[in-house]
Symmetry: C2
Subunit: 376 residues, 2 copies
């Protein structure tokens, strides 16, 4: 049995205590002491001080363009600990009752929402109302309708909404996308995404449908969904899905254990994917075209991504994903930089619409047609 | 564009002219000069002298327990050429009008049927009636009903019916099966089989539904079907499938181009497979369990199979598949040897029943339940 955090470590072969991450092994070279910024710095507050929030905070030590300056948490002890660890001033600390006041805090530019999935929607709306940019962890919401309302709310409030798609900044991933765009693989015909781990503690929020909005699909299957889109470079037009549940006690109603799903793309490519909470270290992408292929294994874990194509091993810098993500997001928010693959709310709504369709397909056994992007 | 033969070479990186196969490269060490037999020798006539028939004949030069002694062909010039190449006496040469007389030939023990798929059924029935053991190339027939009638006919005639499942004797494959049985991978949860190549000449029999009985599924998809069964070690209980056709001119009605299919197994494992005529060199198996994994790549091509497990690279002898197959089949037919994975007609009927179900599922969009083995 594995926690989600240890899984994402294990697939890199590096099981490191979080607190020492920036000082050991591969992480060391990737998270150097903060350098001199070469442009304006995004001042970020993190909402939700759990394990992933901690990972982001640690990674941000290596950022040159983004800085952790505030926290929002319901646990006073955690706030105090973070204040000490990251040097956060009292005036930038909020709890879930007080954080609307962040609108009067000129020292915070953006809030990174890292709460359980089902709480993202309300949090994003409140942050938007406070006039701050929002970065929201994925899945951005628990369905596309909710997601679209978040996009609309941010637009109405005049703030930007970005989503924690860290792989969109990962160098091996970007190299495959670059090669695909250059035609190195020819016409793309097939994508396979396998995403899974064996989830541990049955009492965690991820296994509570009220907080997670779903099971493995929401948590890890989304990597294969999103991956199919950025690897193939098209939007799927249909989906089919099959659900298998071997442990209905642990995976109660509303929590999917294993779902196979298939996607069809306008250019004739198809995708075969697996989302599961019952297999460890399952993290593989395979893209196949008329002329060549690319594979990433591990494809989306936190540690070094590895891969090869028909031309050989992929050579790309190994980075701490969240460091690069936050530096890039700072440039998107502060300078209007365009990422290679979008990381905005609309990108997330597309994934959510596919998740909605997968659940519907699995429930009904039907092939579900997907609307044009933007159409929910 | 690729012929089927060149595909199965390409995936090994060794594109060799067939005629020099036994004298070059990896084939050399695998097809030594015939050794002294250590038991009775199976005397085989090959029916159908096309490219695969030639491959089998060449591989049989390396056999110690099986010997090519006869031919059945509709082309006199081919018969003469084979007589010269393989030293086949006139009295062991037949055409499609005369071969029932093989029953009076005491120098032939078995006939290996290597004709187009749709012709297997009648040929097997005639060979059985002639009182000879039959080895039939796969797919054994074009549907399970036809296959079952072949099994019944051979039983009634008192002859054995074996099917050309060469992978059932391949050492890397057998090593994975051995490890799985020993529990090295724990409880099996997932199998992925990807089988495809880009088919060449549009006039070939494989693209004629009257001769092939189907498209990529009959030709190459069957490797993933059969592979899912021997890799997981269970019989599937349901199947779903999705067909995609990008070129309806080349792939006419009755010839499937690309089918994704999914299988469910009684122990909770699932399989996700791809059968396609529009991707080259696609030949990958991946087996994943609670404790470990195995991958074979290439998994079923003629050349050296390669693979690894969570314990490292698979170490197994590299063999010429058809040499080992024919030596093993001789022992099965002459000495009652039991293969690790069955290669009899009933084994083939199971694959055919799954193919029937896949076609039905693809056509209707329904999940199709599979009967118990033996139940068509």
């Amino acid at each position: 049995m594995t926690t989600r955090r240890s899984f994402l470590h294990q697939i890199t072969g590096s099981v490191l205590a979080l607190s020492v991450l920036p000082r050991m092994g591969w992480a060391e070279e990737l998270s150097p002491d903060p350098k001199t910024p070469d442009g304006p710095v995004l001042r970020v507050a993190i909402m939700g001080l759990g394990s992933y929030g901690t990972r982001v905070a640690e990674a941000m030590r290596g950022c040159t363009r983004a800085k952790l300056v505030g926290v929002i948490s319901g646990t006073p002890a955690k706030i105090r600990q973070w204040q000490t660890t990251y040097g956060i001033p009292e005036k930038n600390c909020y709890n879930y009752e007080t954080y609307d006041a962040i609108k009067d805090n000129p020292d915070i530019d953006a809030v990174y929402v890292i709460t359980p999935n089902a709480l993202h929607h309300d949090a994003v709306l409140r942050v938007a109302k406070a006039g701050k940019h929002v970065i929201c962890e994925k899945p951005m919401a628990v369905n596309a309708r909710q997601g679209q309302s978040m996009v609309d709310a941010c637009k109405a409030a005049g703030v930007r909404l970005l989503v924690g798609y860290r792989m969109h900044f990962e160098p091996h991933t970007l190299e495959v996308i670059r090669m695909r765009k250059e035609g190195a693989f020819g016409s793309i015909r097939f994508f396979q995404g396998l995403s899974g781990f064996i989830i541990g503690d049955p009492t965690q929020w991820r296994l509570n449908p009220q907080l997670s909005g779903g099971g493995a699909m929401m948590d890890i299957g989304i990597y294969s969904i999103n991956g199919s889109r950025y690897m193939i470079g098209e939007e799927p037009v249909w989906v089919t899905a099959q659900e298998t549940k071997t442990d209905p006690v642990k995976f109660k109603e509303g929590i999917d254990e294993t779902i196979q799903f298939q996607l069809g793309f306008p250019g004739g490519a198809v995708a075969s994917c697996l989302s599961t909470y019952n297999l460890n270290n399952l993290d593989r992408f395979f893209l196949d075209g008329e002329k060549g292929f690319a594979e990433l294994f591990p494809a989306t874990g936190y540690g070094p991504i590895q891969g090869r194509t028909n031309q050989g091993e992929l050579q790309a810098p190994v980075v701490t994903h969240q460091t690069v993500q936050m530096d890039e997001m700072a440039q998107i928010l502060l300078e209007g930089k365009q990422p290679v693959v979008p990381v905005d709310g609309q990108e997330a709504v597309r994934d959510l619409a596919i998740i909605d369709a997968i659940y519907h397909a699995a429930r009904t056994g039907q092939k579900v047609r997907l609307g044009a992007p933007g159409q929910v």
